[in-house]
Subunit: 303 residues, 2 copies
């Protein structure tokens, strides 16, 4: 590609830039963002080649002749960014994003971009997000990681392929789901666990003897609640953005807890053991499958 | 001590034996267990000096002149082991255990030991249990770890001190709670999280599209559900043994989820963020406190 424009040059956007550069897959990268400090730092670190500015007419210049635009700013800004770039979007430019939810992004894109929504290919790289800022960016973040593209009926297959090829150049594995499938899957395996972990820590912290409780919490509690260390603002936004699917998963889980409560109240050890055993077995199979899949692709399992 | 008898020489009992030996705190260790293979292996590894046999009169010989008896077999065997040793328990012998629940153990001990319950000092070492068997035993398992003693009103303080001194010789830090306090604390910070993790994995595994879901589960899900890899039999027993406290914690948690569901259904981002922020903040403070407390005592944080 000749020119890539990235909105937000923290862990996700910055790592995308570094990986593309390392692969020799791009000639010029323009960074755009609200924090002048972050942009200057990204320029200093060689993540981007120049800084585009949000206001007119600078944004027009930044987007001129761009092959690809990646939205990697906080998801709450997605609609505003799409609205700001819409007037300057040439026919040859493809836009993608890195948001953790997709149905809401697609709805916003349809509303803001109108006919130009055909140029928007929604995406979601599945990569850790516990650090942020340009200094967190690394060129190998996406190696062996999944990127889910949720292409629209309006998309040109060549445009989808342009986005896929960029992520492949970063070392990622491309998966395709519909936006609805994507949101159901991540409600179950990511959004619900975050809500549950936050709920448990808040529950413990609000008890009168919280200090005593935390004193005896050990490694099991530490791992179970690790995701409750994530950004509250980001997870508030994700919870709201994927509200319908998250509510459905939460209801299913609460029904499951109600059933376990019944077994426990009835001292039904056999029923408890069936649930525990099924879970242990399923988790063991999953871990075995992951390890088998990861081994040949990514020797660096810490990544 | 002159002689220590250990029922069950896996990770917990075997590591206790090795640590006592390393500290030079015991002259002779007798192991007792149901698996002849495990006992032979423990002897071969130098964990124990001789094998005591469960049946009469060998058990009498094993217990003769013992200073301390540790019950480290699966908790479901506790009452039976106490009943088997009761007739042979000399006045100078102190008995302790390593079970994850205490009220039920105390009730069983009172019933089985009668007046001799004064010689039983209940305990719970807070140490990992993901591996087992004599080969898992290590001499440094308890360094810097907590051991909770839940002494009874009937206990002689000198007997409690004998148990405490043995654990201190293994490098452990002694904490004291009542059996009821202990069970409430561990219901909240250990037993409930296990139940919640098992429930989530079982919930996901039972969905028609489970394969698709597991395919996209990432490191957050992996850590959240790590404890669902634990022994279903052991956690069935713990759940039943601590049923009243666990039910109370489960009810509090379900009430918390019901409230979060209300916020989510109402799109109340501020309320969600309050819960998430409070949790993130509490967890951060807890982790900071652990790290500060662990740093000087145990440089090996992987332990």
């Amino acid at each position: 590609m000749n020119k890539v424009v990235i909105f937000g040059v923290g862990l996700i956007g910055g790592s995308f830039a570094l990986a593309l550069k390392k692969a020799g897959a791009v000639r010029e990268i323009v960074g755009v963002g609200r924090s002048a400090t972050s942009m200057a730092r990204a320029l200093e670190l060689g993540i981007i080649d120049s800084i585009g500015v949000s206001g007119e007419p600078s944004l027009a210049a930044a987007l001129h002749d761009a092959d690809l635009v990646l939205l990697a700013a906080p998801v709450a800004q997605t609609a505003a960014i799409l609205a700001s770039i819409a007037p300057h979007l040439a026919a040859g430019t493809v836009v993608t994003d890195a948001g953790s939810t997709k149905s809401d992004v697609v709805a916003a894109a349809r509303q803001v971009l109108g006919d130009k929504v055909a140029q928007f290919v929604p995406g979601h790289p599945i990569a850790g997000r516990e650090t942020n800022g340009p200094d967190a960016a690394i060129d190998h973040l996406y190696i062996g990681k999944k990127v889910v593209l949720t292409a629209l009926a309006e998309n040109d297959e060549a445009d989808v392929e342009r986005v896929a090829a960029a992520w492949r150049a970063c070392g990622a594995l491309i998966h395709r789901l519909t936006p609805e499938e994507h949101d159901k899957v991540f409600a179950a395996v990511s959004h619900l666990p975050h809500l549950l972990a936050y709920a448990l820590v808040d529950d413990v912290a609000n008890k009168p003897h919280a200090d005593l409780l935390f004193q005896y919490a050990a490694s099991g509690f530490r791992d179970f609640t690790r995701i409750a260390g994530s950004s509250p603002e980001m997870w508030r936004d994700i919870s709201l953005a994927n509200q319908p699917a998250l509510l459905a998963e939460l209801d299913a889980y609460m029904a499951q807890l109600t059933q376990l409560r019944t077994h426990l109240a009835a001292h039904d050890g056999a029923a408890l053991e069936r649930v525990y055993s099924n879970a242990q077995h399923a988790r063991h199979q999953w871990i075995t499958a992951i390890e088998a899949a990861e081994a040949p692709q990514s020797p660096d399992k810490a990544g």
